[in-house]
């Protein structure tokens, strides 16, 4: 039974764990939300790398055999440092998201048949993820044209619980209209933040209202599939055991808001101190 650690600055990465659970049912999962130091989205590369490394060291000490960085900001800004520092496989959310977007852009579903030459992708993400250019690099390597849009209000709106609210719809209209005005030919949208799957239905509705429906890539699901592909290296025996949850602060909020992200109630969340 492999031990898979899932790491995020908060509870957003629970959308990745949610996608992993049915894909790798016989794994032992550890989830760490570095809630004392969230959000990572507005912090510098140096600071985010330091936070990610100390979080990863804790998970390694708990027996992690694979690390899934379920945080777009940390994937964008600290993945190279994590890969260099850790003796286990490390998977971020950027690369799988870009690959899924590429597959979708070139081999679209029946809904919106596209010529394969139109391979242009819109990424919604936090300011730090956009500034990192991580999606630009990952998409360029696949020959995809990319447009990125920083959406700083979406995480607070999701955390306010306004996932189906007129204000969130209006904010999405503003962000999406600005992005589509700059990139009118995009046909594929990547949700480049683990909070965004909770507003995917609202995003779809606003896009229809704007007369510009898009194929939507949920990078949480894409990342879970990428993680499952690494697993043949592990033995796959034994029974399913429930995940273990750690957080560095605000246990109560983690448990309360986290259930919406995980899609089920969270059991006990263990408070740990990583300093800082």
């Amino acid at each position: 039974m492999p031990t898979i650690a899932v790491f995020d600055s908060g509870f957003g990465g629970l959308t990745v764990l949610r996608a992993l659970l049915p894909l790798i049912p016989d794994a032992r999962f550890l989830y760490l939300g570095d809630t004392a130091r969230l959000p990572y989205g507005a912090k510098s590369q140096q600071t985010i790398a330091r936070y990610a490394l100390s979080s990863a060291a804790f998970l390694l000490a708990q027996g992690a055999q694979m690390l899934v960085v379920a945080c777009n900001t940390a994937s964008a800004l600290a993945l190279d440092e994590l890969k260099a520092a850790l003796p286990i496989p490390v998977i971020g959310v950027i690369e799988p998201g870009a690959q899924a977007a590429n597959a979708l852009a070139r081999h679209p579903s029946s809904l919106l048949p596209l010529p394969s030459s139109v391979a242009s992708v819109l990424v919604l993400a936090t300011a730090a993820t956009v500034q990192s250019n991580a999606y630009t690099k990952a998409c360029a390597a696949l020959g995809l044209t990319i447009h990125e849009k920083a959406c700083p209000l979406l995480v607070p709106l999701v955390e306010e619980g306004w996932t189906d609210h007129p204000v969130t719809a209006e904010v999405l209209r503003i962000y999406l209209a600005e992005a589509l005005a700059e990139a009118p030919s995009v046909q594929t949208l990547v949700l480049g933040c683990t909070h965004y799957p909770l507003i995917k239905p609202l995003i779809e509705r606003v896009l229809r209202e704007l007369g510009h429906p898009l194929h939507i890539v949920d990078s949480a699901a894409a990342t879970a599939i990428a993680a499952a592909k690494v697993l043949p290296a592990f033995s796959s025996e034994g029974e399913a055991i429930p995940p273990t949850f750690y957080a560095t602060d605000s246990i109560e909020k983690f448990q309360r808001l986290g259930s919406a992200f995980l899609g089920q109630a969270l059991p006990e969340v263990k408070l740990i101190d990583l300093g800082g």
Copy 2:
């Protein structure tokens, strides 16, 4: 020339420094934004106290003779620890805000004459400030009835630069209508977060639209006045020198957004490392 340190989790406290500069022109000001660990608003008391103490220790080492905690969350959750740990006067924003609200509620301006028996106050603040009950305690000590409203979206909206935007107006309508439905008799409003002075004109407009104008207490201004009153203990000689600005992360953002809070361009901001 006294050295006065002003501390906040970010640049919001610059609204307090802005009020202090003309009141105490002959002081040497140090400003520290603990931007690597912001926002404090969603973190636990223990974590916030630890952050505040390490920030204060740095400022003390720079020669601070008075500390103004220009952060509602840190004032609410860490003021006692700071006062106990520091050998210099420490002033928070809660107590001055409550006292200004009390004075206004009992001796209102000519605009909205009130019977002095109606001494009921509405406080808008972050979730952590509301949960701390710090305003409740400070107002109860003055015989004021208080209603608090957590407004988690206002800081992100101000930081997005949407200080005069339809979405911010709509969010304010929702928050204020909810608060006024629960507390229909309030006549005084305290801006319990240093970000909120930037949307004071919008708050006034929305209150007029709701047919419920309120006296507004800007706790930044009230705090500056309280700090100035402590000053006779210092000698007041010498010429004005420009403030020194420190931040623990994201210097560029601090400088760019901070100018709106300070009301003038920021000079160099020095990056410091407090660990964490």
